[in-house]
């Protein structure tokens, strides 16, 4: 392993603490990642030195803040290999990005009898906006079934596709199972019938190299806080021609060209979709997160996390009563599991008592849990700063907990 874990860990102040008298082991990275010092410094630096409103002030501070703000947009453009920075829209998070598409693209391009396809393993934020849209428009939501191992049944997806399909909105990597979906194939098939494709990249962008031009997706939604960045900030990427054809999302300042009481004309993209004063501080700090990721390199990150996942599977697999949930061959570093005879809440709470932070429950994927016949799972999700030693500790504790019901 080329990763200098100790050096990486030293960049994350939060990791160095005790929880319930035990050293913190943070395995809830699919929910949110911790922030390196550089991101925290960028946040306070902005408020200490550069705070001012952007894009309109005629003074040095506003000019500086605007420059930093737009530098983040450029960095994101490179990060996902978009053609131009204007295709990057700032939102509150993945959820808002998806809702933006449902509200604007949906409002204009989806009508009665049209079809939207999602999969069984979607997060609620990639289900509910489409249900709301379908209800309003009389459109139909179709669901791609999955296998027991938690993989999309591609042939079933092809059967669902038709000229009525206007949009396929699909998760790139599952938050609950870790499954990496064959999105390239899905996008090609959808495009062959004229449907647009939105990728929910909330879980994929931190682990995988995501190239929107190579994938040819029409939209990509993701959140900064899962990429070692600040909370309350997300991104919607969209192809220029589609974004231009879409009506605005919110009305207000920034998004207009000219306002009269008779008629308002709208600004160019991306500003057309960024009404009001944006989340300037977090946008500026997000650049430091991306610099951190780029500094490590996605390839090295993936290799490290793959190694952790393989090791965790091996160690946990030795535990009597361990039931892995989601066993697709292609996964991001998410290990979902149950312990025979035990409720995931109880397992999670006992891990917490030992300083180990995991997520328990349905992971905002209730239809997926229903499909798998589960109330929920325990989910350990790994990031760049996690180590095999930490996995050893989790495995030891899970083994102890599992013995209660699996003698």
């Amino acid at each position: 392993m080329n990763f200098d874990i100790e050096k990486i860990r030293s960049l994350f102040p939060l990791l160095h603490q005790e929880v319930h008298g035990k050293p913190l082991i943070y395995f809830d990275n699919a929910a949110t990642t911790q922030k390196p010092q550089s991101v925290l410094d960028a946040l306070t630096g902005y408020y200490n030195h550069d705070n001012s409103n952007i894009h309109r002030g005629a003074h040095a501070l506003a000019d500086r803040a605007t420059r930093y703000f737009e530098e983040t947009r450029e960095t994101i453009k490179d990060f996902i290999h978009a053609r131009e920075a204007a295709e990057i829209i700032f939102t509150k998070g993945t959820t808002e990005s998806i809702n933006l598409v449902a509200s604007t693209f949906g409002r204009k391009f989806i009508g009665s009898g049209d079809e939207i396809i999602i999969s069984t393993m979607e997060h609620h934020s990639n289900i509910v906006p489409w249900q709301m849209l379908c209800e309003e428009k009389g459109a139909i939501l179709k669901i791609i079934p999955i296998s027991e191992s938690g993989e999309i049944l591609f042939e079933e997806f092809e059967k669902l596709l038709s000229p009525k399909t206007k949009l396929v909105s699909i998760v790139h990597a599952s938050n609950a199972l870790g499954t990496i979906n064959p999105v390239r194939k899905i996008i090609q098939a959808a495009h062959s019938l004229g449907a647009k494709v939105l990728l929910d990249g909330a879980q994929s962008t931190s682990h995988l190299e995501v190239d929107v031009q190579e994938l040819d997706c029409d939209f990509l939604a993701f959140s900064a806080h899962k990429l070692y960045g600040p909370t309350g900030l997300g991104v919607l990427y969209g192809k220029r021609e589609i974004l231009e054809a879409m009506p605005p999302f919110h009305g207000g300042g920034e998004m207009i060209k000219e306002v009269t009481f008779e008629k308002t004309t709208y600004n160019e993209i991306p500003f057309k979709f960024e009404a009001g004063t944006p989340n300037i501080a977090d946008v500026i700090a997000f650049k430091s997160s991306l610099d951190f990721i780029n500094g490590l390199g996605k390839k090295a990150i993936k290799a490290h996390e793959d190694e952790l996942l393989a090791y965790a599977n091996e160690k946990m697999g030795e535990i009597k009563g361990f039931i892995p949930v989601g066993t697709a061959p292609e996964k991001v570093s998410v290990l979902s599991f149950n312990i025979n005879g035990m409720h995931p809440y109880d397992v999670g709470m006992m891990l917490d008592a030992n300083g180990i932070a995991v997520r328990t429950g349905h992971h905002c994927t209730q239809p997926l849990m229903k499909r798998l016949g589960l109330e929920g799972t325990v989910r350990a999700s790994f990031a760049v700063y996690n180590s095999k030693l930490e996995i050893d500790s989790m495995a030891d504790n899970v083994a102890k907990i599992a013995r209660i019901k699996n003698k």
Binding site: H20, G21, M342, H343, Y345, D346, M349, M350, D352, A353, N354, G361, E375, I404
Partner: protein
């Protein structure tokens, strides 16, 4: 039968022995749940689930010789332990006594920090439902 106050004091002293060891405390709570009187399978229905709990908690109550007899179950062992603590204090008492009970052991053992804020909300829902049953039975007695 010991008073509500005495039983609460007893619980507090049991938790004092465990001290700040969170792991032992949770094991202890889980073990308490194992001693809960079994809830008949027919009572494990949607209607008997307490609203406001993350995990499933079934609670039923009936009048026995003027007193309220509760039976409960949960799909998680920790929650089962929590409800068993409440029933240890409040089960088989007159409705009025249940309604007037001041459950100070909850704060004295630091329940909030043991189970966290989400489960604390669920725990409060259990207390509320226990009292609602007592109130309903008391109302019937007064008819």
């Amino acid at each position: 039968m010991s008073s509500i106050k005495d039983i609460q004091d007893e619980i507090v002293s049991e938790f004092e022995i465990l001290g700040d060891d969170k792991e032992s405390t949770i094991y202890f709570i889980m073990e308490l749940g194992a001693g809960l009187e079994a809830l008949p399978e027919v009572a494990r229905v949607e209607d008997n689930i307490i609203k406001g709990c993350q995990s499933k908690v079934w609670l039923i109550a009936e009048e026995q010789d003027g007193k309220v007899h509760y039976m409960a179950d949960s799909n998680t062992d920790i929650t089962k332990g929590l409800i068993s603590l409440l029933l240890r204090v409040l089960n088989n008492r007159a409705p009025e006594e249940i309604l007037n009970a001041k459950l100070d052991f909850v704060e004295r053992i630091g329940m909030g920090s043991i189970i966290g804020s989400q489960r604390s909300n669920g725990f409060a829902s259990m207390i509320k439902q226990i009292k609602l049953f007592a109130f309903a039975i008391q109302s019937n007695q007064n008819v």
